[in-house]
Assembly symmetry: C2
Homo-oligomer: 346 residues x 2
């Protein structure tokens, strides 16, 4: 095993604007061995998520950046190859944060199991890729953001962008399960048709003109919850439609991630703050691990909905680690259709 190669993708340079293939570099290293008390994992699935764009930059954020030459971070589902750790047997499927590589040795002393960023053995019956999507970080982001901040009530209107994606699609389905209206925004007619098929009451194509007018028409009673994951033109369209006491969970701003400088004026900070005041808005940023204590509740609840067919999900899969950079770059401009996954092996 130590003769075999572990291929990994490292950050070659920091992007200025949208990432390019040159920001990534494929490297080879010997496959490591399980450390004492640890495990050796073979990556089956790698998750690609918008937050990774933030880690490529050294601007201050909620997590330290990936350093140049380091393996790109990422959630993975892997198979246990070697184990010196109780509770992990060869062949087990585990959820982890082992990044853009084919193998990873994990020291359980440094990364305790069942903690954020640690390893978790998946139940045998669960399709492993769901642990990266609807039953993983994106699903928990939607669930915890809606449960703790959005708090949709019957008859209210919930708006979410990237509605065909893994977070947005669950946000809207949770809204419906709470008796609220769900209005999605997505890129192109195919995605909009998919979103409507999930039970959303409306889905607007953000590529078509006049988004503000169409949003107003789709939300005749205004907007009570706007689940913010994109920013930009969608936020501009939603802000005037927000009702008094509207809640805005802020979990992502993908349209801003590639900005190299603030857009030209006028400076609308004052308009935003006045809306917060006069409409008594609640804006609250969060990342999923702020609600780590709710993980079991999430898995029970959404896992149950999934088994009962009350929620559905869609995956967009590319094959082979080599495909990861292009798939990631495409995802940032909305080229994916569902939860973006790389089938690394298996």
């Amino acid at each position: 095993m130590s003769q075999a190669a572990n291929r990994r993708i490292v950050l070659a340079s920091r992007p200025a604007g949208p990432p390019t293939p040159e920001n990534f570099r494929m490297e080879q290293a010997p496959v490591p061995t399980a450390p004492p008390g640890g495990v050796l994992l073979r990556t089956l699935w790698l998750s690609l998520d918008p937050y990774m764009r933030g880690r490529m930059s050294d601007a201050p954020s909620y997590a330290p950046p990936v350093q140049i030459g380091e393996t790109m971070v990422g959630g993975t589902v892997s198979e246990v190859v070697q184990s010196d750790a109780p509770g992990f047997r060869p062949g087990d499927h585990v959820l982890g944060q082992t990044g853009w590589q084919e193998y990873a040795a994990v020291d359980l002393a440094k990364h305790p199991a069942n903690h954020p960023g640690g390893l978790r053995v998946l139940p045998p019956g669960q399709p492993p890729s769901t642990a990266l999507g609807i039953l993983g970080m994106p699903g928990m982001t939607a669930y915890c953001g809606m449960l703790n901040i959005g708090q949709p009530k019957p008859g209210e209107t919930v708006v979410v962008a990237a509605a065909a994606g893994p977070v947005g699609s669950l946000v809207g389905q949770i809204a419906k399960l709470h008796g609220a209206r769900a209005v999605g925004i997505a890129g192109g007619p195919d995605k909009c048709a998919h979103v409507l098929g999930l039970g959303f009451d409306a889905c607007l194509d953000h590529r078509a003109p006049d988004l503000p007018d169409r949003l107003a028409a789709a939300c005749p009673d205004g907007v009570d919850v706007y689940f913010e994951n994109v920013g930009g033109a969608v936020w501009d369209a939603v802000l005037p439609r927000l009702n008094p006491f509207a809640r805005v969970p802020v979990c992502g701003l993908v349209s801003y991630y590639n900005l190299t400088e603030p857009p030209p004026g006028p400076d609308r900070t004052a308009l935003l703050m006045r809306a917060v005041l006069t409409k008594r808005l609640l804006l609250r940023g969060f990342i999923v691990w702020d609600f780590a204590a709710q993980q079991e509740d999430f898995l029970q609840t959404v896992g149950g909905w999934l088994l009962e067919g009350k929620v559905r999900h869609r995956e967009d899969v590319v094959s082979g680690l080599d495909a990861a950079p292009d798939a990631f770059i495409g995802m940032l401009r909305g080229a994916n259709f569902g939860k973006m996954l790389v089938r690394v092996a298996g």
Copy 2:
């Protein structure tokens, strides 16, 4: 009594930018009589508050604007002159919303007692003007904003502007009572000295240069609660100092009230939203009556603190209804020193 004149100040025109004396007009009308089941009140004290600037505009807000020719709105403490209402006796002091005028007839059927905007008889021992300040709307704004949104914890740092004013001064004193550090911002050395005398740990003069640097020095551990009542340059200075999970109760934006158009660019909306996300900030707008159910708790708690000498307050009084427009205009640029009151009679 019906022969006497009731002088009142009406909105003559809507301001473009800062209000001017020409936006107001003094009128005379006959003194009304108490309606059946109602009372006739003689105004003793008129409260001047920044929110009134919003009512002079017809821009959408949380309350309808004053119409041209209508009496300016405002909180008052009055003496009951005539009463046809149980529970109100001539000579009683009552808190109400009877506006910029010397007399007011109140129909208790339309404005029930002890409701927001309704009448409340003041306890005989209470200095009547406190019902417009520390034991009134400004005090309750500070109390409810801190209790429900700011939630200061021991060792945290709380920043508030207009710290010599009726809201800001109580915000900082509540911070201290909760074991937090209080950093005030005020206009000029006299106000800063007063704020320090209230027990704040530091007070910065916003007229001196380099507010961002001095704020950073005064908040070596960052800012956990920023009680927003001004916006503008203070908000710009505070935002980079906010700690992860900081809370921002937004109860006023006096520096924006006179804006006639958004300031020049760049547009920093994206920077603000990114800060909300990466620092997991909570921004929440409120007005005091959103927490109307907490009024008794507020009166008990802050009234108790006041009796025990745990909190102090300062009033800035002008005499005669004629003085109201100039005092109001001055208050919007910070010319007042403490809770701004007009002694209308008595």
